[in-house]
Symmetry: C2
Subunit: 345 residues, 2 copies
DNA sequence: CTGTTAGCGCATTCAA
DNA sequence: TTGAATGCGCTAACAG
C-alpha cells in the first residue's frame, strides 16, 4: 500500500548524472551553478517529482522556512485578515505559516511555544492572552527565535507591530464629547493585553481634557464575548438615571451583543443612544444605521509583521542583530450614522 | 548572541551516565526501560531543559506528530469552531495542528498540499475550494497520507466528515412551505463544493414534493461574500411581482448582507418576509427578530475529524488499512422568530 | 563551477 | 534491559 517510494537527492543526482551536492545547490539556489547543470537537475527533479524532505533540510540547515502564529481565537475575523495578509507575504518568500489557536489557555500557549520553538519554525508571530504571564515571555525569549509581538507591548527582545488604540479611543471619545455627550460608556476586552490598556488610557485622557472624570461603572473590560457585552449593555441601559447616552464598543464580537441589547431595549440609534464600534466588518457597514467605528489597516499590519520577520531571517546571517523594531499603525474614526447629539434631558 | 546551545540526547546521556540509545528509549516511551534508568534520564532531561529536535525525530521515524488543516477562509467563524475542537483532540494526543488558509486560491492549495505532504505532517484535514479540480485531488492522493475531507464529497481514498446539508435545506424549505410560502429564494455558496450541491438538492426535493418547481431566478449560489448576498437580495426585493416571501440564506457572511438589504428596503421580518439563516452565530441569536436557522454540531465534527485521523495513525502500524469511513452529521432547524405565514396577496 | 565528504540529532538495529 | 553502531536525507565545508 506504500503509495510512493521516497525519491531522494541521490536519485535525482543519478538521473541527472551529477553529484548529490550539485543537486542540493540548485535546490537551495544559494550557489552559482552552470545553466547546463541546473537544467539537467531541474529536468530530473520534475521527472522524478522530487520533493525535498523538510526534516532532513531542517536538520542540517537549522532552518525550517516556516513561521508560527499564535492567536487567542482563530475565529476572530480581525485575526483572519491579519493572518491572511501575513501569510501572503511569507508564502511569496517561500515560508509557510502555521496558525495555532490558544483559545486563551495559558498552558496551551506555553506548550505551543515550546513545540514550535524547538526547531519547527524560524520565527513566531505572537498575540498572547496575558501580558502579565512571565512564563510565556520567558519561554518566548528562550526559544532564541525572532519573535514578533502583534498588538502586544514591545519587549526588550523581539519586534512588534502595534496599533494606536489609545489614539483611536481618544478620537472616538472626543467625537462624542463634541456632540455633547457627557455620559459615555466604554466596553473593550481585557486590560491584561495592550489594546485594553491603551483604549482605556485614550478614553480617560479625552474625558480629563474635557474636565470630566472616568466613572468606573461606565467602563467594562471583562472579556471579548458577545454574551458578556450583551449583559453589560442591558445593565447599562436599565439605569434610570445616568444611563449612558453613548457607548464605545471596541470588540468585534462584543458589538453584536451591544446591538442586540439595544434592539431589545427599544432604544433607537442614534436618537436615543450613540454607538461607536470597531473594525470594517459586515455588521458595522451594513447595520441600519451604519455604525461609526474606529479602524486601522489590519492587512498592512499583517504584511509588516511578515516583512519584519523575513528581515530578521536574512540578517541573522550577519553578526549584528539590529535593535527591536516597532511598527505603529495609526487608527482613524470612520464616521457613519450611529452617532448624534444626545437628547436634551 | 546565541541564546542557548542546543542540548542533545548526548548531553542528557552524559549527565545521566547512560547511553544515547537509552535516552531515546525513555523519550519515545516505546521500549521497556528499568525504573532506575528512566528516573535518571528524566532528571537529566529536566535539569538540562532538553527538548527533542523534531527534525531529527522526523527524519528517523518518518513521523512528525502533526496534522495540517487546509481551510478556504480562516476568518469564517464556523471554521474556527471546527478547528478549535479538532485541535483540542489532537493536542490531547500529542499532535500539533497547523492551520493554513488557502483563501480559495487553487494554486495555493496545491502548494500547501505539496509543502505539507512531503513529510511535514502525518495527515491532513482538507476542505478544498473546488471539488472539480482534479489536480488537487491527485496531489492529495499522492501524498500517501491519511486525508480527512471536511464537508467535501467522500473519495475512494481518505475519510470524510460531512454534514447533511440536503436534509437541512429540505427541512427549512418544508417549514416555509407549511407556513404557506410558495415563492422561496435560496442563497448559498458555490455548487463547486458539496454543501452547495446538497442544499440545492434538498431545496429542490421539498419543492417538488409540494408540486412546485425550482425557479432559477430565485436561486443564487455565487459565492460566500456578504456583498454579493446584499446585491442579490436587493434585486430579489426589487421585483414588483414574484417577490419572494421567504429567503433561505445558508452562508454565515451572506446572512449579514441579506439582513442589511432587507433593512434598507424597509420590509419587516417576519411580517413582510421570512428568513432562515445558518449556524449559531451571534447575529442569528441576537438579531431582532431572532433568526430561525439550520444548525449542526460543528464542534463534534471537529472532534470526529481528529479522532478518525488519530485512528489512522495508529493503524498504519498494522498492515491493513480499513475502508474509508464517513461520518455524517445531522442538521436540524432551530425555530426562532424570523418566519411567519406570508401576507395574503 | 562541481564532486567528495562529514555530520546535523535522533531512532533503531545488533550484540551483549 | 542496555550500550554501541548505523544511517535517515540533506547541506555545507572543503577540495579540485
Amino acid at each position: 500500500m506504500a503509495t510512493k517510494q521516497r525519491v531522494t537527492v541521490l536519485d535525482v543526482a543519478r538521473l541527472a548524472g551529477v553529484s548529490q551536492g550539485s543537486v542540493s545547490r540548485v535546490i537551495t539556489g544559494k550557489n552559482w551553478v552552470s545553466d547546463r547543470l541546473r537544467a539537467r537537475v531541474e529536468a530530473a527533479v520534475k521527472q522524478l517529482e522530487y520533493k525535498p524532505n523538510p526534516h532532513a533540510q531542517g536538520l542540517k540547515s537549522l532552518k525550517s522556512r516556516a513561521v508560527a502564529a499564535l492567536v487567542s481565537d482563530i475565529s476572530n475575523p480581525l485575526h483572519g485578515t491579519f493572518l491572511a495578509s501575513a501569510e501572503e507575504v511569507l508564502s511569496a518568500a517561500g515560508y509557510l505559516l502555521f496558525v495555532s489557536s490558544t483559545n486563551n489557555d495559558r498552558d496551551r500557549e506555553l506548550e505551543l511555544i515550546n513545540a514550535y520553538g524547538s526547531g519547527r519554525v524560524d520565527g513566531m508571530i505572537v498575540a498572547h492572552s496575558d501580558e502579565n504571564n512571565r512564563r510565556v515571555i520567558k519561554a518566548l525569549q528562550e526559544t532564541g527565535l525572532p519573535i514578533l509581538f502583534h498588538d502586544r507591548e514591545p519587549r526588550r527582545f523581539g519586534d512588534a507591530v502595534i496599533v494606536d488604540h489609545a489614539h483611536g479611543a481618544y478620537v472616538a471619545t472626543n467625537y462624542l464629547l463634541s456632540l455633547g455627550h457627557q455620559c459615555i460608556a466604554l466596553l473593550s476586552p481585557s486590560k491584561a493585553i495592550r489594546p485594553g490598556r491603551e483604549r482605556f488610557s485614550g478614553y480617560k485622557r479625552a474625558l480629563e481634557e474635557a474636565n470630566l472624570v472616568v466613572q468606573d461603572d461606565l467602563v467594562s473590560m471583562l472579556g471579548a464575548s458577545d454574551a458578556r457585552a450583551y449583559d453589560v449593555t442591558r445593565n447599562l441601559l436599565k439605569r434610570s438615571r445616568s444611563r449612558p447616552t453613548a457607548i464605545i464598543c471596541l470588540g468585534t464580537q462584543m458589538l453584536a451583543g451591544v446591538l442586540a441589547a439595544i434592539n431589545e431595549s427599544g432604544l433607537s440609534i442614534p436618537d436615543d443612544i450613540s454607538i461607536i464600534g470597531i473594525g470594517e466588518t459586515d455588521l458595522v457597514r451594513l447595520y441600519k444605521p451604519s455604525i461609526t467605528a474606529v479602524k486601522w489597516d489590519i492587512a498592512a499590519c499583517g504584511r509588516h509583521a511578515a516583512q519584519i520577520l523575513l528581515q530578521r531571517f536574512s540578517e541573522s546571517n550577519a553578526e549584528k542583530p539590529s535593535a527591536g523594531s516597532v511598527v505603529r499603525s495609526p487608527v482613524e474614526l470612520v464616521l457613519r450614522d450611529s452617532c448624534a447629539a444626545p437628547r436634551k434631558q
